[in-house]
Symmetry: C2
Subunit: 782 residues, 2 copies
């Protein structure tokens, strides 16, 4: 929060009350500053967001290539070797991201399967001896401790490690940098926390956290290690820019999905459809390479573990929930249950989004009260989960085993279908089969095919009801938690239930009903289509299911979209991240950027050779990150009089701070030569975006000196005419990935400033614009 001290021009309280006294303070006034629409308030950016239930200062990322003299020089001199080095390391990093994500995913799986496995084995032992209370205490106690470890780490060391992390990654790839998201501590806490939380049997998955882990690995590799211990290899400097980091994090995110679901193509598509904002064919290829590496790693480790060297881990292959043994045989009439599942998925999915939003708002209030509250919340949820999981199976009746089945029945091992629990030999407890096991095994059991009589409707109803409650109350607690698995569990519950009801009328297996239910709820809540379809294909290994899966997904998404936005968008909004949507609002066509600029404080610009004092003042008094550089002079060739003003470009705050730090001052007002700059600055230094104006000390004499800003100015900024509509400006801003967009006047005359304003991400957000121009949203309500 220390950064806020300089925010006197732009700061706002979290309640969106706008500071209105800005206008009087402005020393400069813009000659074109005539409001075209009645001005209500001042457009004010709000650079604060609630991330990890903590108010953070949000920075925009800068994907634009900063073409100043030094950059051009660097680019021109970059030799063929250096280019090859860059390409080599680009691919090597993609390889390493895949490799490390794969290895860490395996380790997490290994740890979870062993911890949860030994825990469950011990509990089963107590139960077999009918020591139910000891079993209960052991089960609850173990879960309590595991949750405590996960939660205390999150609360004390890395609040950003709580939750799935996918919304923040989505925001990052959209151009919003959330602080402390990709550090080494976060990575460590996420790994340990995820192991703890999943082993504790909480209703959450390791999928979301794995996506975050992949991104952390990518970010750490790209910057050469943790913040304080960075490797400063020369080639690593090539990646010290927001564009390359963005690409790496995209690779990391898809590797994470791939590692979570063992779905390489699904991982790439997930990154493409849900996470990424910018996409290129070349990136498609690189992410594909990363996921290929992950798959090879997973396959190798699974092969190694098959020989029983990994404790209780080692069952199962690359396909997690194989349902390929069913011959899918459906007729036209089967379209009816399929449509019903789709509609149900859409309705329930949007209802889930709605309720989760409410719960998260409540949790935010609790979490903001302090660390202790966070911890208590997590522990009570864990306690509730354990009690329900252990006690509810006692409500179910024991079912006799069907001798015609080839599967073992009953089972008492770590995993397996048909759990014996409290039942006599030859009988099994169907609710225990679903509750007293790991989440992965629960999914496997409820997906089990060719067992139409395995579950009683009553048990499935209890299962579904319990997981609806758990799914709502678990997500917001302070542990790393994924959303995929809870939704799959809920969805498979009502899917299988529907299958039981429909049994007389359809050929579709109940296991497939469960799969379709899970898919429909995912689509209804997360609103993905192609990537979900491929992920389910890769999860279940049944290509013949494809056409009906597609229909289910399309219906569920359509129904869900008519109620509310996707769960990730809701979370993004809750966290206050300035995410820029793909489509401009319709009313944005009726507003020009000129009108938008009018309600902003006047732009602060520098002359080409500027006094140090002016620079220091501007940097101290604003938080702007870019300043236009203008020159007075003569238009060449025509010799138009000296009233001409030349827009030289835009200079970044980081570069100004570099200049001040290096004290590259001139005694007289003159332009410098290129070699003078090159002696002082290298492109490596200019790539650094850090540095604080408070760290810079400038003496009084130096204040009167000059700096030649020309060589450090980006001479190729993107500009829009003031008559441009906000809708089009927003498309440009998002498509090209800008941080600053200069607004130029449509008038060409002496005395008119060549730049009438600068627009940033915050200025183009619909929500911010509407607070200033509330009348714009009215036609929409008609």
């Amino acid at each position: 929060m220390s950064k806020e001290s300089g925010l006197n021009k732009e700061s706002t309280s979290m309640n969106d009350t706008m500071v209105e006294e800005v206008e009087e303070r402005d020393p400069e006034s813009n000659p074109l500053n005539e409001p075209l629409l009645k001005r209500n308030r001042t457009l004010s950016s709000n650079p604060l967001a609630l991330v990890g239930a903590k108010v953070s200062y949000i920075e925009s990322l800068d994907y634009e290539i900063n073409e100043n003299d030094l950059f051009k020089q660097d680019w021109r001199s970059r030799s063929r070797t250096q280019v090859l080095q860059y390409i080599f390391w680009k691919w090597a990093l993609a390889f390493l991201v895949g490799l490390l994500t794969g290895v860490i995913a395996t380790l997490i799986n290994l740890a979870i399967e062993n911890i949860a496995g030994y825990k469950l084995l011990a509990v089963v032992n107590f139960i077999q001896k009918e020591r139910y209370l000891t079993g209960f205490l052991y089960f609850t106690g173990a879960n309590f401790i595991l949750t405590f470890v996960a939660s205390i780490l999150c609360v004390c060391f890395a609040p950003t490690a709580a939750g799935p992390g996918i919304p923040e990654i989505k925001a990052y790839l959209n151009g919003v940098d959330t602080p402390n998201m990709y550090g080494a501590t976060t990575l460590f806490v996420k790994i340990i926390g995820s192991i703890g939380a999943v082993s504790a049997g909480l209703d959450l998955g390791k999928e979301g956290p794995l996506v975050h882990i992949g991104s952390c690995i990518a970010s750490l590799l790209g910057q050469g290690g943790p913040d304080n211990y960075r490797i400063k290899w020369r080639w690593l400097r090539y990646f010290n820019n927001d564009r390359d980091r963005r690409d790496l994090i995209t690779c990391g995110a898809s590797s994470g999905v791939c590692a979570a679901f063992r779905a390489p193509v699904g991982g790439v598509l997930f990154a493409l459809e849900e996470v990424a904002t910018w996409w290129r064919s070349a990136l498609l290829w690189r992410t594909f390479f990363s996921t290929a590496v992950v798959v090879v790693v997973l396959r190798t480790t699974i092969e190694l573990c098959h020989k029983g060297k990994c404790g209780l881990f080692g069952e199962g292959g690359l396909i997690m929930f194989d349902v390929s043994d069913v011959t899918v045989n459906y007729n036209v009439i089967d379209i009816i249950p399929v449509v019903i599942i789709g509609v149900l998925g859409g309705v329930l999915g949007s209802l889930y989004n709605y309720l989760l939003h409410k719960v998260l708002r409540l949790y935010n209030l609790i979490n903001q009260k302090g660390k202790m509250y966070k911890l208590l919340l997590s522990l009570s949820v864990a306690l509730f989960t354990s009690i329900c999981q252990y006690c509810l199976p006692f409500l179910a009746k024991c079912t006799p085993c069907d001798p015609s089945l080839s599967e073992v029945c009953p089972t008492n091992g770590r995993s397996g279908n048909f759990k014996q629990f409290n039942c006599p030999n030859g009988h099994y407890n169907d609710l225990a089969t679903l509750l007293l096991t790991t989440n992965d095994d629960a999914v496997r059991n409820i997906f089990s095919t060719n067992t139409p009589f395995e579950y009683q409707p009553f048990s499935i109803v209890i299962f579904f009801g319990l997981y609806c409650i758990l799914g709502l109350i678990t997500f917001g607690i302070a542990v790393p938690s994924g959303l995929f698995l809870p939704i799959i569990l809920m969805g498979s519950g009502y899917g299988r239930l529907l299958g039981m009801l429909m049994r007389p009328h359809t050929n579709i297996d109940q296991g497939l009903f469960a799969v379709l239910g899970a898919a429909s709820l995912m689509a209804g809540s997360m609103r993905m289509t192609v990537s979900l379809c491929v992920i389910f294909l890769e999860l279940t290994n049944n290509l013949l299911l494809l056409p009906i899966t597609m229909i289910v997904l399309l219906i569920a998404k359509t129904v869900g979209d008519s109620f509310n936005p996707s769960i990730y968008e809701i979370i993004l909004h809750l966290k206050g991240l300035p995410f820029m949507d793909a489509n401009p609002e319709p009313w944005m066509r009726n507003l020009t950027v000129g009108e938008l600029v009018d309600v902003k404080p006047a732009v602060i610009s520098f002359r080409g050779v500027e006094k140090v004092a002016n620079i220091v003042n501007a940097l101290r008094n604003t938080t702007h990150n870019g300043f236009p550089v203008m020159d007075c002079g003569v238009v060449p060739a025509t010799g138009v009089a000296s009233e001409a003003t030349e827009l030289h470009g835009i200079i970044l705050r980081a570069h100004l701070i570099q200049v001040l730090k290096k004290k590259w001052f001139l005694k007289e007002k003159r332009r410098t030569e290129e070699w003078e700059v090159r002696e002082k600055f290298t492109w490596v230094e200019l790539a650094e975006r850090e540095g604080n104006i408070e760290d810079v000390a400038v003496t009084k004499e130096e204040m009167e000196m000059f700096v030649d800003l020309h060589p450090l100015t980006n001479t190729t900024p993107f500009t829009v005419l003031e008559s441009m509509s906000v809708a089009k400006a927003m498309v440009l801003f998002r498509q090209v990935g800008l941080r600053h967009m200069l607004v130029v006047p449509k008038y060409q005359a002496s005395g008119v400033s060549p730049v009438i304003g600068i627009l940033t991400r915050q200025d183009l957000l619909a929500h911010n614009i509407l607070t200033v121009f509330p009348q714009l949203s009215k036609p929409k309500r008609k």
Copy 2:
């Protein structure tokens, strides 16, 4: 070619010799027109391209939303009903595209299977009676006639129907409109021609043509029918713009791929990775819907045909080449053959691209000589193909059937493995199994798994050699032809051969080797990754193959890319389509748009209220499609003197022609009111982009009258500063999908024109820039 008459400013001959006398002719001169780099020649756009071996006039598409007063009016008044109507029809059209593509694909399959089937049955009958010569004449004659039909249709009625059409669709989605590509005639010829050519046993597939067919259907639906018989429904007008048509054609292309391979996800990804230039999440979803419809249609018709109602058609389900019966069991050591296949695929793929390029250049020369030559070329290729297919199997030895196999052996039916051909009972001819059958069956036979001794190496070598030759000579002939199947055939040939060589050292089945070979050659030639991977997944129904397929594809693409560009890019270049690449060339950073504009003829602009004579002259003497509109006046609020010039926006040629046609002239020089415009023009008329200046007759009196251009001017054009680098300008141009980009001066002074030039697609193409600034490419060669 008639349009060329007005091209006096921009016309060039096909040999890239530039017209150099332009400068003297320019009546206007730009005050900033000072060359910064030594000027060699004049940058000249070449709007001609060679499509279907015919020189065509190429138009750019206009994806920009044209925000003039009328548009805004229209947008503001569009009611909620109309918006819902638009959304409904958008989805209904996507549905219809899927439905029709699915139905037509089924009909094509049906026709091919029946025609080719009865042909082969008759030939087999002759052979069984040992009447080899009659069989030969029958086979060759039938193929000759079928090719003749396909070729004569293509040559006489729709030259654009020849070839796959995918490069042209790719260009269309990039913003280049090839004439006569999406008409009803083209669609009809493509369907009939594809049936003829594939039934004739030529070495080509129906996959590419199906993509084109899907796009044609989409385009025809979007415009309401064939050019002369368009339905003029009100709602259809909503789709009368380049943006909506682009989206529809994307849906059509993915439906086509889906129908060709029965691969819905692969279809979407193919469109995304290979065909489309712009992509949005919403579009992903809509194309997915289209392909889902296609799959449902295909499934339904296949189910219907299973009962034998469709003649010889009806075998096989949704999976075309099922290899799922093999348990894929591979070890780390198997990485060696996988890598070899990948490398081989890359080398052979790029070699194929290289050779095909040479062949196509030769064919272009032949085809340009006249229709008869085109026809003769096709027929000789057909003759050669038939002779080889019939005669070569006699070289193979008969192999005794393996009684341990469960499959029928030998077969004499339409399809089936182990063809008897000239062999005694209990024996089969392995080369006839591959050659004397339809291409689809040939693929199925060479992919056949668990039959390690089915083929003799000698037969596979002949097969591979023959299809290498056929693959090179068949593609360029004047029939609808796809590239997928020839490449699959070639690739499976060397894949299976490699499998035979490797047999002692590997566990991988030979059928899988064939699959991997096919995949590697596809990747080596077409350079797709994710979409190919998914298509192969959906084609072969074997998810366990995924990791090795990924590795093969990645290696093959990497190796191929180091030699030459993908086959589609080569064809695009051959056809002279101005395709805009995703990545700017490195040297583009060293050139500013100001320098580029300097070597163009000066821009022709209008005043806000312009004399009719000036407009008519400008339209008659140039082929420009956009003209800046400028006003002289006073800057509001500051009251800067009247030397101020205001850039009002850009007006399109089509709108100017509408004005002239409607004779919306003013006697005096005054600005009009909005209602005056609205009385005269509706947005429906302004959406029309057709109209020729030659059709407009203006009297002498009218020439002296005025037009108020303000209400028809797009006030929100995209602009760049003259100091912007070409690299960044190109990224903007492509990302936002522009047709015209205004270049504004960086100087702000009276007397400076607010627009110093207009850049179009042709100006930003690397090839065109290099002819004017040849020195730029030098650093690259270092």
